[in-house]
Structure formats: C-alpha cells, structure tokens
Symmetry: C2
C-alpha cells in the first residue's frame, strides 16, 4: 500500500523533513568509526534452563546477565508512610528473591504460602533486579521516608521528550522489579510472590511482560519490526566499558556503589503501518539491512559503523535521520547504554492510525519493552534520546507510552538486605 508521506527515496524523505523544519538540524558529528566485531548482548541458548543464578553478589543480576527469554517488569506504589515498613518489605523481598532464584518455594512455613505454580519447574535462570524510583525519595516536595538526602543526583525526574505519550497508569512508581527468566511462568510467579509479600505496604502500579525469540546462540534476536535489535551494545565482558557506562562508582552514595540506573520505556510500534512500508524504506529508516543486520553500505552486521560514506550523488549512504546514526556513540559524545530490550505483546486494542490510510479499528498493541542500564541517565538515555526523539525517522512508527527511571542498588551480600545501606544510612 503506498503512502504519500512515506516514499522510500531519500529525496522525498528529505522533502518531508524540510517541510517539518528539521532537515539538517541534527548537525551530526562525524567521529571515527567504532572498533569492529563487538558481540551483541545475546540470549545464550547454550545455557541450560535449569541453571541457577544466585541472587546474592557484587552486582544485581539481570543487568549484565545474558538475556533470558522472558521478562515480567513491575512498578509499585508504596502505600505506607513508615520507613520501617519499607525496609521490612525489602527484607522480605530479599529473602524471597534468594529463594525464587534457587527455585525454592516462598513462604513454605505459612498457609497460604507460595502459590505453587512453579513446583517442579527448573529455576529457569531467574533473576530479579530491584530499583527505587525518584518518588521514593521525594513526592510533591515531601521527603516521605527521611531518605531524600540520599537521592543520587543522577536519579533525575526524566524530562518530557518530543513525542512522549506517557499514560500515567503505565508511568513511574516508587519501587521496581525486573524479573527475567527462560520460562514465563517463572517470571510471573516471582512477581506474584513479591506482590503478595507487599500486601499493605506497596501495591502494583503497572506491569509489562516481554519476550525474546529463541534465536541461535550468539545470533542477535529480531524485534517486532523484523530487524536485528542490539547489534551494537556495551560489551558486558569488558570491565572497563562496564565501569564507564553501566556501573555506578562512588558518586551515588554507598548504597548505589556497583548499582546502575534503569530506564524502562514501553514503546508501542504501529506494526500494521510498518508492515505496509516497502523494504528499502524500512531499511533506510533504520539504517541497516533487514536480512543481515549490516549497516547500509557495509557487508557485516558487526563491522565498523562507518556513517561517513556518501553515494555518487554526494548524499549520505546512511540517511541523516536514520535510527542507527542518531544512536551511534560518535554522534552522542561517546554516550553508550546497555540495552536489554524485549518485544512485548498486549494483544490488540482500538486504534486510530496517524497516517494514511487513517484506519480505525482493532490493531496490534505490541512493540518494544525498552530497558537500558547506565551509570548516569543524564549521560546515557537522556543524552541519546533527546536528539533521537526529535529527528529519528523511526518516530513515525513508534510511540513511548509509559515508563520510568529507577535507581538499582548494588548487589546484596548474603545476610544483608536490598537497599540496607540506604534505609539504615
């Protein structure tokens, strides 16, 4: 189906941008190509599903952990005004997280105890990654739990970005947990137990599940746009890169040392609309080939990100507003984030299309559960997405519908509890 606004030729695309007053506005820096052959963050099929990833450790799992097949993300509102209630919940959650990761029943000494639907199921590489939202430290100017002084400077209130359509019921939260595992029953079960343990102290505010298709080990999984997603990422096996881009150092206070900041954004994709676009237009929008994942003009998925090449007419081979160009570190003062995105599928919902043929009806309510980790969101997601939100060609097809920023403390040592250094500071 042809669409007058979306022609796959660069001239018309530039015309559209000119009409929007955006052409050339990006002022893209031209930095040196990146080192080649950086492996992506891939699902590691070689790892057996019955492998246990212990909850206790120097860092929280679920950040540098090879991505599991399923996630269940949940944000909670704290409904008590007593700090002791919150720290007691963190103790219950810590004890439960340790058991859940080991595949052990939670509340075996209580009746009712564990809801039991994972009895007999392997641990499924379950990880639980907890975070604290800005509102835990300050809400409506109130320091609710006397911990406001320990709020890290990097735990900002996320700015409003161009195009944001954040639904309040899917945005924010005082507490967060990202459950990842290789079985959807394991991840849902884990959050369900945490919800149960939070009765009277915290109520669930929003959740979003996600999945990664089962591609072969070391292959980059595709997202719902059909493109490989995560070809370029922080190399989790590189401790220097991880310290630079992902792990918090001393700047966040003792409780955040070794932690990281999670930005979570459910991004709805107009899939029916995208599916009507010709392949060449899709590729120019992303800046990569759909089949191979290679940068346009390059041969290999993991080759250098050479964004400087021009065609015989002097036009850039990778469009100026292509997704890959706007996200590239060399165009963002070297900024990098550890992407850990899942596809999500919420069925269908009533939708009015924003573009021809302006169809109204039931459309797929699906997209990307974008999750990324970084040492400082001001030099990570905010830095990269501020410009992307304005100029990325992909924005015609994607809408950020919710999300939040959460400070994920450093790892928990056995015998201590999650955020103890914060609540007992």
């Amino acid at each position: 189906m042809s669409c007058p606004f979306h022609r796959p030729d660069g001239a018309t695309r530039r015309g559209l941008l000119a009409a929007m007053g955006l052409a050339g506005a990006a002022g893209l820096a031209r930095a040196a190509p990146l080192p080649s052959d950086r492996p992506p963050l891939t699902k590691t099929d070689a790892l057996p599903a019955d492998r246990t990833l212990p909850f206790f450790g120097a860092h929280q799992n679920g950040i540098a952990t090879p991505i599991q097949a399923h996630t269940y993300f949940a944000a909670f509102d704290v409904v008590t005004d007593k700090r002791a209630d919150v720290s007691a919940l963190m103790q219950r959650w810590t004890e439960a997280a340790d058991k859940l990761a080991r595949g052990v029943e939670v509340g075996a000494d209580a009746d009712p105890g564990d809801s039991g639907e994972t009895a007999g199921l392997p641990p499924s590489r379950l990880t639980l990654t907890f975070g604290f939202g800005p509102t835990l430290f300050s809400r409506d100017g109130q320091d609710r739990f006397g911990i406001g002084v320990h709020r890290p400077a990097a735990l900002i209130d996320l700015p409003r970005f161009v195009g944001d359509q954040l639904v309040p019921a899917r945005t924010g939260g005082d507490l967060s947990v990202q459950a990842c595992g290789d079985d959807p029953m394991a991840t849902m079960h884990a959050v369900r137990q945490l919800m149960r343990l939070a009765y009277g102290v915290a109520t669930v505010r929003w959740v979003q599940t996600g999945f990664i298709p089962g591609f072969a080990a070391k292959a980059t999984p595709r997202n719902l746009m059909g493109f490989k997603d995560g070809s370029f990422n922080v190399l989790t096996s590189d401790p220097v890169a991880m310290d630079r881009h992902v792990w918090v150092g001393d700047e966040g206070g003792a409780w955040m040392r070794g932690g990281s900041f999670a930005v979570v954004r459910p991004i709805r994709i107009a899939l029916e609309h995208w599916d009507r676009m010709k392949l060449s237009f899709q590729e120019q929008t992303v800046g990569r080939r759909k089949d191979s994942g290679a940068l346009i003009g390059a041969a290999q998925e993991f080759g250098p990100l050479n964004l400087d090449a021009n065609d015989s007419d002097g036009n850039p081979v990778v469009a100026e507003n292509a997704h890959v160009r706007l996200g590239a570190p060399q165009n963002n003062d070297g900024a990098q984030i550890l992407r850990r995105a899942y596809s999500y599928d919420n069925g269908i919902s009533m939708t009015a299309e924003r573009w021809p043929p302006w169809h109204q009806g039931m459309e797929l309510d699906a997209g990307l559960l974008f999750i990324c980790y970084q040492r400082d969101p001001r030099r990570g997601f905010v830095k990269i997405f501020d410009r992307m939100s304005k100029f990325d060609m992909l924005n015609q097809f994607v809408t950020h519908v919710g999300g939040g920023l959460f400070a994920c403390p450093g790892g928990v040592q056995a015998g201590r509890y999650l955020g103890q250094a914060l609540f007992e500071a």
Copy 2:
C-alpha cells in the same frame, strides 16, 4: 488473611452451600471408576523446537498435536458480503499456513512482504488451526454467504451459562485461528501475516495469547492456580476415543469430516483472592492434591477417579461440589472433551473484588485460556459445563469473560484449500 466465607473445613463449606440453596442439588451419579494411568496431554519437551509439523494432512494440526509452549488465538469478523472474497482469503491463508508451518517467508515475491521477524528462527512446531463461527453461516437471520444450509447442527449458538460475564469485544467471531508453537515470536508472527493477508476481507475481533510452562516431558503442566491441569484427558493416541469424542464423522457434512469443534473461553482467575486461601481449602475446591495432582484420598495423579469414598463421618472424601467431581465423565453420561488449555497473562487491570476484603485496585488480569475440542459441543463442553457452571466450588475464583464456538474443518490436502468443500458445495 482469613475470609469468613471461605473456611477450609467441609462443614462451613457445606453451610455456605446450604445457605445458597445448592447443597446436594448436584444429584451426582455414581459410576464406576475410570481406567487408570491415562497419560495427560503434555508438552513433549523431547521434541526439538526446530521440528516442522506440516500443515497439510488428514486432520488439522493443533488438536491432537502434543501441546506447544505458546499459543496466539485470534477471532476475525468478515467485512465483505461476497463469498468469493472469503474463499479467496481461505486460499491465501492456506498457502500462507503451509509456508508458516515450514518456516518459509510469506509473500516473498511482494514488497512489502513478510514482516520478517522470524527470519532465522526455527519452525518451532508451529501449527495453525482454523475454524468457522456460527455467524459465518447466519447473522441476524441473514445467510450472508449462501452457505447457511451447510451449517452443522452441532455448530450451535452457545447458551448463556450461569456466571457468564462475556465481554462482547472478546466474544464470537466469524473466523478463528489458533496458532501454537514453541516460540511466542513464531505464533504472533503467524497471526500477523494472516491479519495482513485479510486486509479488506476480515478484521481481527479479539485475540488472546497463552503459555504452558516448561515442565519435564510427560509431567502435567500446572496452571496459575498452582494445580496440575490436564491430568485427565482424552488419550490422543487412542483412535477409538478420538473418533468417539473429538473427530467429526459424517454427521457434519463433507467439509467437517475429520474436523472438530473448538470451544474457546478466556477464564479470568481471581489470583490474589485464591492466593489468600489455605492449602486444604484449595485442594477441597479442586478435589485433588496440589503437590502430587492425586485425587484426594488417592496416592497417584493418574490413579482411578474413585469419587465414591466417604470419610469416617460418612461425608464424601472428594466434596460434592469439587471441580474434579463435576467434570468427571461418570458424572456426565460419559462425556469427554480434549482439553488443550493455556495459562494467559494480560498484566494487571483495575478490579473490584467480589469477596472480602473487597479490595479495589490493580490486580492480575490473568487466568486460563481454556480451549477444548470435541465431536459435538452439545455432548461435550455444553453437557459438562452446564452443571459445572452452577455448582463448581471453583466458580468463586473464576469468571468466563469471553470466547466462542468454532467449527474446525477436516484437514486440508495439498492442492486444495481450507473449507473448499464448504465454499464450493
């Protein structure tokens, strides 16, 4: 949390039933125990995910097929009034179904063609099972496509059952497809291509995804209530039982020979409410032990369904209104259905509880995507559920929120198309 209406002791439960005027009303037949050791319909982990299940064959796949890990069910409204448009769609869907099952791109000769997100993904034992709803044959008294005379007598308008809370937007449909496979990307991708091929002829009406946890081969998967689900089922390897209970013979017309009738019901479970119930009460409600799946009073999951035993006080060991008793064939004139149920997880939604503590807030929007196949729903689902809907103790925790009845034609031979014998009759 204790609940005055839900005491785990039989006396109080019977008291509640007496108060509701239901005690003893079931008038349960006492038939002989069933043959023991019937294997359940289990997910067969031994089958590799890259196995291809061909679309063409004597029966449609996805009925007797060992259950895959994921499903994506979709119901469509036909928006044309031309029979030729519908039969042309069936031809496109047949061609696509054959390719999808083999992991081959749909529409490789078109631009845009296949959305491409499964490129590189194994076929994942994908099956597509198509059905025709009653409204395809007659809607508001109109024979829309001149096929009304071929409507099987068994393709009834489902009666309204006690407790039904069917949301119109999740109920009915002219066409249905059940996509099952071992990867959620494979099942979603398949339905997405079918949706795309239906542009202008049929629009999606409702969908529901589901999953089965990855239990070991031959183990019965648990549902979200924590109980093993499917311990008793039609034995798919028994051709006599399949012909008796599942496959349509000559009574449905040539186009239904070798087909089956699918009843699909998304059943929401009040999980937070269930999770507050003591273990013994849960077990008496279901009539089985949670851990082993054994009938109460029996030692083994697959032992005989001995429902006649009384305790020392003369009360039945398995409660008169226990789920297992109401569903047992000996209490339903021998009726059996081939259950093929998935758990579903739609996140959370605003909910007002129907029982103490009458909590209002965000609760899990999850439950069972109940799918069953049968030769005649009047002697299958309707027969069994009519009484169950009135008396089953489980009804305090479950609500049917949508669904439909679909006539699934016999298998398609290569060179022919789905429902050809109907549309060309």
